[in-house]
């Protein structure tokens, strides 16, 4: 299994509070991603990173920000949590150094509940 951890694994918070989720990898992979999973939608990309300090938006980035100051860590921040951000959040990594290396490996997920 790819070395990916997410913290916390579960969190309950209140509307309007800031929340930060952490993804940590030990694989030294270049690409990191944050997805959210909601019933009937599969997984949807929030933000991704293609290197230290290099990030970009995905399809559902509103209300989220990210930072990557080290290769191994990718942080997802909800600046002011809303109930619509209640979801399961998955981090993924990929090596992407060339052909046939773009398999993505997923972390165990973080279940976030916003009351």
């Amino acid at each position: 299994d790819a070395g990916i951890t997410q913290s916390p694994r579960h969190k309950v918070t209140e509307t309007g509070t800031p929340v930060t989720l952490r993804c940590h990898q030990t694989e030294n992979h270049r690409y990191m991603y944050w997805y959210r999973q909601d019933p009937g939608h599969g997984l949807r990309l929030i933000h991704y990173s293609y290197g230290v300090k290099d990030t970009d938006k995905g399809e559902v980035s509103d209300g989220y920000s990210v930072s990557r100051s080290k290769t191994e860590d990718f942080l997802l921040t909800l600046e002011s949590a809303t109930s619509s951000q209640t979801s399961v959040y998955f981090c993924a990594i990929s090596e992407s150094r060339g052909f046939n290396t773009d398999t993505q490996y997923f972390g165990p997920g973080t279940r976030l509940t916003v009351l």
Partner: protein, 114 residues
């Protein structure tokens, strides 16, 4: 827009029966294709992937998938289902350019009857 469609939200099969889960994609070019499985409360585990070459791909746990360019499909199959295969299955597609993120289908939940 790029999209992945899994037409079946929920499938129930009997243990020992064969299984086919459907996946169709809509991309300008042939994407990389993946099948992931998610057991309840767990993360996603890669079953198999297709990048190029042989259109019949073998994966873990006895699963296989066939890429059909003419039908823009990548269906997952298993000849004999086990009770432990009950899970949710996601088809996903991506490109080797740009952000390399995956587009996921909405998933198919598999129930296995004894």
């Amino acid at each position: 827009a790029q999209s992945v469609t899994q037409p079946d939200i929920h499938i129930t099969v009997s243990e020992g029966a064969s299984l086919e889960l459907r996946c169709n994609y809509s991309y300008g070019a042939t994407p990389y294709l993946f099948w992931y499985v998610q057991s309840p409360g767990q993360g996603l585990q890669l079953l198999l992937k297709y990048f190029s070459g042989d259109t019949l791909v073998q994966g873990i746990k006895g699963f296989e998938a066939e890429f059909k360019r003419s039908q823009s499909s990548f269906n997952l199959r298993k000849p004999s289902v086990h009770w432990s295969d009950a899970a949710e299955y996601f088809c996903a597609a991506g490109l080797d350019t740009g952000r390399r993120a995956l587009t996921f289908g909405s998933g198919t939940r598999l129930q296995v009857q004894p």
